[in-house]
């Protein structure tokens, strides 16, 4: 049975025990679906099918979990991942509802503390660490990242500027500089791969500039991790990041 037919059959099940107004709405929806060209992409249909599948196969099957989650969330992780459609941590690391407070932005970047310029990221970190008291922060980079490629190629390639993208990926400039210094003789693709990983390390260092993160690390209540998902080869690397203090001298 095609997914369109499945969606219609699924809707028909709701007809039997609903009030007249709801029945009318559902019948209208079914008619609308039946009139659609099955080959044309229909965003409404796509969202409806997805939600139905979740409700039937997850929400309704685990009432205790979802009742508890309705009252609050106690995630153990704050995750930073790229907005790239191919790298959602709910897929690659199977995060279930309630497990990970998740920020997604271009090139999974964490800028250094700046209340004026980067309030969005700061708000997420403050909320996750101070309010939700997550125990782990995980920054996940990935292969063939468009944001990192932009960082590595612009403005040297004389391409037209992207006002917002270029301003954002500039956060990764220290990573670009380091990679060009160490690996500048390698092809661009390899340099980008190094930068994808170096940018994760830079983001982990930047996390340390947030006071609540510093406190969490000092109290041993927080650990920082970096990840790298390579979707070309189907691999995942994980690193633990520790603030590197080292006794240099005594007088």
């Amino acid at each position: 049975m095609g997914s369109l037919e499945e969606a219609i059959e699924g809707l028909k099940k709701f007809l039997s025990d609903k009030d007249d107004a709801a029945v009318a709405k559902i019948k209208k929806l079914i008619t609308g679906l039946q009139e659609r060209d099955p080959n044309e992409f229909d965003p409404v249909k796509r969202i409806l099918e997805g939600f139905q599948h979740f409700k039937i196969n997850k929400f309704d099957k685990h009432p205790k979990l979802y009742d508890k989650l309705a009252e609050g969330q106690w995630p153990k992780f704050l995750v930073f991942a790229c907005s790239d459609s191919r790298v959602c941590p709910s897929h690659i690391l199977d995060f279930q509802p309630g497990e990970a407070f998740m920020v997604r932005n271009i090139a999974n970047m964490v800028p250094a503390f700046d209340k004026l310029k980067y309030s969005g990221v700061g708000a997420a970190i403050e909320y996750a660490v101070s309010v939700l008291e997550v125990q782990n922060i995980l920054v996940i980079g990935h292969s063939r990242c468009g944001g990192i490629k932009r960082l590595m190629t612009h403005p040297e390639d004389n391409s037209a500027p992207f006002d917002f993208i270029d301003e954002w990926v500039k956060i990764g400039l220290p990573a670009k500089v380091k990679v060009q210094a160490e690996f500048g003789d390698l092809p661009l693709e390899d340099q980008c791969k190094h930068c994808e990983k170096q940018s994760v390390k830079l983001s982990l260092c930047n996390l340390e500039t947030y006071p609540y993160v510093q406190m969490g690390l000092a109290n041993k209540k927080l650990r920082l991790m970096g990840g790298y998902y390579d979707f070309v080869h189907g691999k995942f690397e994980l690193l633990e990041f520790e603030p590197h203090f080292h006794h240099l001298f005594s007088t």
């Binding site: 709405k25 992409f41 965003p43 796509r46 969202i47 409806l48 997805g50 939600f51 979740f54 409700k55 979802y66 989650l69 995630p75 790239d84 459609s85 191919r86 959602c88 709910s90 690391l93 995060f95 279930q96 509802p97 309630g98 497990e99 920020v103 997604r104 932005n105 271009i106 970047m109 209340k115 004026l116 309030s119 969005g120 700061g122 708000a123 997420a124 970190i125 403050e126 909320y127 468009g146 944001g147 992207f162 006002d163 917002f164 993208i165 990926v169 160490e182 041993k220 650990r223 979707f231 995942f236 690397e237 994980l238 690193l239 633990e240 520790e242 590197h244 203090f245 080292h246 006794h247």
Partner: protein, 302 residues
């Protein structure tokens, strides 16, 4: 204290995931000796590049490093729990690799060459509302931004992570749909509604103030309701305001006007498990800044 020896762990790990040995340089919870060498190695590397990071290390007083050594030993004692966490993440990835990646290898190989998602989603960072879960988006389907309270700042507020992602999704990936999803019991919206007039130096306030118009509208339309109901009203009002803010971006408005891009709002209620969805009904000349958001195709799924 119970710790695994680094070499046995390395061997074990390498057989299941190809994990180059250099990645272990920061995998420092196994064996104090290895850790000291790694720390030394990392510090000398950062000195060479002259990055500003090592200055922080030099400023730390010697007393702190003594404390840190004790902390390091304490953490080694707890390393079994750390092992469990890493083991868990490793197994999660291997499950994904076995049941999804390898079973759809052709599809993932195509995706590795490039992404062509039809959706851009703006959703809250809340752990309970991941659109990949609640709407079943599979790898490759949805370019996703997640921030506190799923807010979209207007064009005039200047560069931010959210509009950088919008620029990429709309102008580079050329997505056909943008969907902003709000949700029930949103902590960010609650913070917005709870804000007092006095100066509050928190990051959360600096960010959620993007939704101030939604709060104003809610206060005037729903002041007779209890606070929880007002928050619920604001959660939906804020989605509408984000849709209006999307149209402040000239390249978004142009595409919407031409019919190349559709803008949708959504609301996920995880108390009752319902989903509402509506689409912006754009007719350029009727669009006033202060007018009520014109919508079409409003659906309510329960």
């Amino acid at each position: 204290m119970a710790t695994l020896s680094p070499s046995s762990f390395t061997k074990n790990f390498n057989s299941s995931i190809d994990f180059p040995i250099t990645s272990f340089q920061t995998f420092a919870i196994f064996g104090p000796k290895l850790k000291t060498e790694q720390t030394h190695f990392r510090l000398s590397t950062s000195f060479k590049t002259g990055s500003p990071l090592e200055l922080k290390a030099m400023k730390e007083p010697p007393g702190l490093t003594q404390k840190l050594d004790k902390n390091r030993l304490d953490r080694l004692a707890e390393s079994e729990n750390g092992c469990d966490l890493f083991e868990d993440l490793k197994h999660r990835f291997l499950r994904f690799k076995k049941h999804k990646f390898e079973e759809n290898l052709g599809h993932f190989q195509n995706l590795a060459e490039g992404q062509a998602p039809k959706f851009m989603i703006i959703a809250c960072a809340d752990s309970r509302v991941c659109p990949s879960v609640i709407l079943g988006f599979q790898p490759g389907e949805a370019f996703m931004v997640r921030n506190v309270a799923n807010l979209v700042p207007p064009f005039e507020s200047g560069p931010s992570e959210t509009n950088a992602a919008l620029e990429f999704a709309v102008n580079s990936l050329k997505v056909e749909n943008i969907l902003v999803i709000g949700h029930s019991r949103c902590g960010g919206i609650r913070a917005l509604m709870s804000m007092q007039d006095e100066v509050d130096s928190s990051f959360i306030r600096s960010w959620v103030i993007v939704g101030k118009n939604a709060r104003l509208n809610t206060k005037s339309a729903a002041s007779h309701l209890g606070f929880d109901q007002q928050c619920r009203h604001c959660e939906k009002e804020s989605v509408d305001h984000s849709l209006l803010n999307l149209l402040t971006y000239p390249w978004i408005e142009q595409k919407v006007a031409k019919g190349e891009l559709s803008v949708h709002g959504g609301y996920y209620d995880f108390v009752d498990c319902t989903f509402e969805k509506w689409t912006l009904d754009y007719k350029g000349s009727n669009f006033g800044k202060n007018s009520r958001l014109p919508v079409k195709n409003r659906f309510y799924w329960c």
